[in-house]
Point group: D2
Chain length 132, copies 4
Amino acid sequence: MIFTNIVPRVSETDGVGHINNVFVPIWFEAGRREIFRIFSPSLDFVNWKLALVKVTVEYVDQLYLAENVEVRTGIQKIGNSSFTIREEIFQTNRLCAKGEAIYVNYNFQENKSEAISNEIRDKLQNIKFVDK
Amino acid sequence: MIFTNIVPRVSETDGVGHINNVFVPIWFEAGRREIFRIFSPSLDFVNWKLALVKVTVEYVDQLYLAENVEVRTGIQKIGNSSFTIREEIFQTNRLCAKGEAIYVNYNFQENKSEAISNEIRDKLQNIKFVDK
Amino acid sequence: MIFTNIVPRVSETDGVGHINNVFVPIWFEAGRREIFRIFSPSLDFVNWKLALVKVTVEYVDQLYLAENVEVRTGIQKIGNSSFTIREEIFQTNRLCAKGEAIYVNYNFQENKSEAISNEIRDKLQNIKFVDK
Amino acid sequence: MIFTNIVPRVSETDGVGHINNVFVPIWFEAGRREIFRIFSPSLDFVNWKLALVKVTVEYVDQLYLAENVEVRTGIQKIGNSSFTIREEIFQTNRLCAKGEAIYVNYNFQENKSEAISNEIRDKLQNIKFVDK
């Protein structure tokens, strides 16, 4: 599991007075940073490997500016060339959003997916999603 | 159906060289503007009505900075207090992303969902999603 | 002069109920798109040329979600390797923000600025800023 | 002085491979959070007090995805109803951006600026900008 602390920004609120819904996928992506680093250790873009296939987000409760947020991120399933991330956002002990993201290990030069190596597979298995 | 033209911004690209995936939900939300106006005709936030329940996005093909984007938005299903929007993004005649968003008609003062009135129901039915 | 139409997005408002101030530099950057195209005609990032040196933004009046926005963009001054853009944002005939942005013609491979060619200089001179 | 740690997000990079310039004002705003709290202790928007008047940003060096960022924020000058914030962004000990932001203590209900109280003035003076 990966735990990422997010401090909400005024620019992430909207006129209704809460955090706008589009920032939930942005915070989820922020929570995947150490997963990106497994595939691209230097986090430059010279040989980026991951392409997003699908995301699902359920908005469970309102998020506010005033309190810090915890993004909980873990691996749910690993296939041959793709894998599924499960992710949740908590604020003041309330589950506010949950979702899944499917990524494929992608070779952007040759425009095709590639099998996930055993070395990377082991690292992904070490960050399995665990229910709170 | 609602057709929204989006001109991609440099700030919406990422280091891989394409439009970053988080801007797809942002563009989809931009495409829902006239649906928001049905519920809040003046588009101020005095009496905002809609709360997002769930979104699903499938990333089908890469989006680039150089060409304009068309967001296609329409109603797929109307329930008692909630409704489902279907939405697609095209660039240079390629389907690049598609998804669904479920909203509930919500009374933020009383913290409860409310039935969709017949007047609004009729307006939503006029913007049914039509396949390209 | 370049005139860019912007339709404000709900995600660009903040809890105060107006457009959040950080989206003004974003809209100004959106307004510079055709200037970027002069330096990088295909708008890919293979040989991007421009680096931002300095921006100034004055916030003159509130921007709201409900009405479209016009970004007015033009060249104010051209130096040897750098140039200054002047830019304004209007909504419902009100000047809401104005600013300047200084860019340098930059070679990112060799990490140094380069003189602006006469060909590009002529194109920049054709989009001089004109007061409303 | 206020020190804010920022972990750069993939969605904050652009096609050139660095952090896009529009996220610098966003990170600066993030760094002002505790100043906002002085004026609005609960950080809700019921009685928000601050309106941005002017920002200046100088882009000194490139910002990258891979390393954390420190935003240094402090008060430079306090007037009757307005004050000036000075702010800097460092990454790997390099000064990457610096700027100023002028805010006015604003009554949004009555649409007019208000004098800064002595209590708030004292709190602002406690977070004076100090050069590194």
